[in-house]
């Protein structure tokens, strides 16, 4: 049986950090955005909604390529950063984190928007009448009532980032300990016909993902909202 070496552990750590941070950042960003999107159906909102969905459409390698061009030392963002005395973002963990956030944006925004739209105004009105302020209402009413949407958003985002490959390959360049994530490592093993390692890592990934999803869905199930 294949043994996890330091390269694998490094990749696991990078991957886990990347998925976790991406999910957290995306939920924080997507929640207000989705809320706003769900509040109405003006032309402008529809435009924003369509734009938010665009990262889905570009092939990940192409998205990675454009991000590379933008975040690298010759791109608008990268150059500006360098002029300010910072590092450009290509081939860095920060870079692939930004890429992951953009790349998985639709997976967080769309389910949340849909969940918020399904809420209706009544629960919020009820909570207001019972003395709950805005944040309290969000925490105790909006969030639990759209928890299904949050679970979908979080699992799709996490899993999508876990399986992210093209973007990271282009923008990250598989630098061990920094941008070399599990997906790249597995691919590398497979291409090197190092099948033992590829199979083992894939299996591990599947088992881990299955266990996580199973736990998440089981917990979600215990908080089922009553439907009349």
């Amino acid at each position: 049986m294949f043994q996890l070496g330091p390269a694998e552990w490094q990749a696991i750590e990078v991957t886990f950090k990347l998925c976790l941070y991406t999910t957290i950042i995306l939920l924080l960003l997507a929640t207000p955005l989705s809320w706003w999107l769900a509040q109405g159906r003006t032309q402008f909102r529809t435009v924003v909604q369509a734009i938010v969905a665009l990262p889905l459409v570009l092939p990940p390698t192409v998205l990675g390529f454009y991000l590379l061009i933008t975040l690298g030392p010759r791109g608008v963002v990268g150059q500006t950063l360098q002029d300010l005395g910072f590092q450009h973002l290509a081939f860095s963990f920060e870079g692939i984190l930004i890429a992951s956030v953009i790349y998985s944006m639709p997976f967080a925004v769309q389910p949340l928007t849909e969940a918020f739209r399904n809420l209706g105004r009544r629960p919020v009105e009820v909570a207001s009448s019972l003395g709950a302020g805005a944040w309290d209402r969000f925490r105790t009413v909006i969030f639990p009532l759209s928890r299904g949407g949050f679970v979908v958003a979080a699992t799709l985002t996490f899993a999508h980032t876990l399986g992210e490959f093209g973007v990271i390959l282009m923008l990250g360049g598989s630098i061990p300990g920094e941008t070399k994530v599990l997906s790249v490592l597995i691919y590398d093993h497979a291409e090197a016909m190092n099948y033992d390692a590829a199979h083992s890592l894939s299996l591990m990934l599947l088992i881990f993902a299955f266990a996580t999803l199973f736990v998440v869905y089981s917990i979600n199930r215990r908080f089922e909202v009553a439907k009349l």
């Binding site: 629960p123 009820v126 909570a127 302020g133 009413v141 009553a226």
Partner: protein, 357 residues
């Protein structure tokens, strides 16, 4: 304490609500009007759930809405019972009940879960999920939840529509007391004349998005054409002192010259002034004081006014010996046969059992 409301609001192209009224608030105010006349909309404006531009809402001395100024609902301390079921589906029955209570500062709490659940008869249902409650049970939880924030104003949109008479009977005195003793004004939408008669101190009649008029319960009851009534028709409210029961259990009401005898379900003695309401159709008139008849209460009265007949029935307004107004509803045929006319002295026959406490 008054509630000043001014503003107007359109819903679609058919409906426009327009108000500019200062409503007295003490006790219970009933909002009465036909389906679709704007009662729910009015409550929503008061609560701040609708925010028509330029409207003014003033509760007592406090402006809840005026120009840019707008106090959001959660700071108004309004106990709100929505017309339709509105329990929060992710919370248990208990959590729903306590949601507002937990958000009420301890020093403002006047009501506590134990008394409210006991009053509403829902103690045994606290651990249920809300989809395990019947329609009436859900309505009681909604009411309890609103009461438990110890509000400074209660807005109830048909809070007892799904409840059986007995349950209503248990709840109504509680609400009455709450309004009277804790001084929490109640504005209540109700389609049930019985509820209004029992609870309200004042009736706001609405029609087509406008407040038609605001009357005390007594005025509202006295109108023979009052929209409050279905077949019961007009009624009069008499005030007097209720005495102790004699050996046959009948209790005297009012001064000797206008004495009535009450029997059942009379309120506890010792109250100074008691209010009773008498349906006009429960009052008959007789030229002589009849004997050998089961009707116990015969009052000498003077006819003050005979309304023109509607549907062959006339409402006859009579003045009792202690100067109160008593309405009798009799057939036009009887008016003619007995030769009734203004100023005539007759006997009003009131079935003692017809007296409502």
């Amino acid at each position: 304490m008054t509630l000043y409301l001014q503003g107007h609001l359109r819903h679609g192209k058919d409906f426009e609500l327009k108000v500019n009224h200062e409503l007295p608030l003490e006790g219970v105010t009933a909002l009465f009007g036909r389906s679709g006349c704007g009662k729910t909309t009015l409550l929503r404006i008061i609560a701040g759930l609708e925010r028509p531009r330029g409207a003014v809402v003033r509760f007592g001395g406090q402006h809840w809405q005026r120009g840019r100024q707008f106090l959001p609902l959660h700071k108004r301390r309004i106990g709100l019972v929505f017309q339709e079921h509105s329990l929060l589906p992710h919370l248990s029955a208990r959590e729903n009940l306590l949601y507002g209570y937990q958000r009420t500062p301890t020093e403002q709490r006047r009501l506590h879960p134990d008394e409210v659940t006991a009053m509403l008869g829902i103690e045994h249902l606290l651990d249920r999920r809300i989809d395990q409650l019947s329609g009436g049970q859900r309505q009681r939880f909604s009411l309890g939840r609103a009461l438990l924030i110890s509000p400074q104003l209660l807005l109830l949109d048909e809070p007892m529509a799904a409840l059986d008479t007995q349950t209503k009977r248990e709840i109504m005195p509680f609400l009455s007391r709450m309004a009277a003793e804790s001084g929490v004004p109640i504005i209540m939408v109700s389609h049930s004349p019985d509820e209004v008669t029992r609870l309200a101190d004042r009736v706001v009649f609405m029609q087509n998005g406008q407040i038609q008029n605001v009357e005390t319960l007594r005025e509202a009851l006295a109108r023979p054409d009052s929209p409050l009534f279905d077949d019961a028709g007009a009624a009069s409210v008499l005030e007097g002192t209720l005495g102790e029961a004699g050996e046959d259990n009948a209790r005297p009401f009012g001064p000797p010259e206008a004495r009535l005898w009450l029997t059942s379900s009379a309120p506890a003695a010792g109250m100074d002034r008691t209010r009773i309401s008498i349906l006009a159709r429960d009052v008959s008139l007789s030229l002589v004081d009849p004997q050998h008849i089961s009707i116990q209460n015969h009052l000498p009265v003077t006819i003050e006014r005979i309304d023109p007949p509607r549907d062959n029935r006339c409402v006859v307004a009579c003045r009792t010996a202690d100067g109160q107004l008593l309405l009798a509803e009799i057939t036009a045929r009887a008016v003619q046969q007995l030769g009734l006319a203004t100023g005539k002295q007759v006997y009003a026959l009131i079935k003692s059992v017809a007296l409502l406490a």
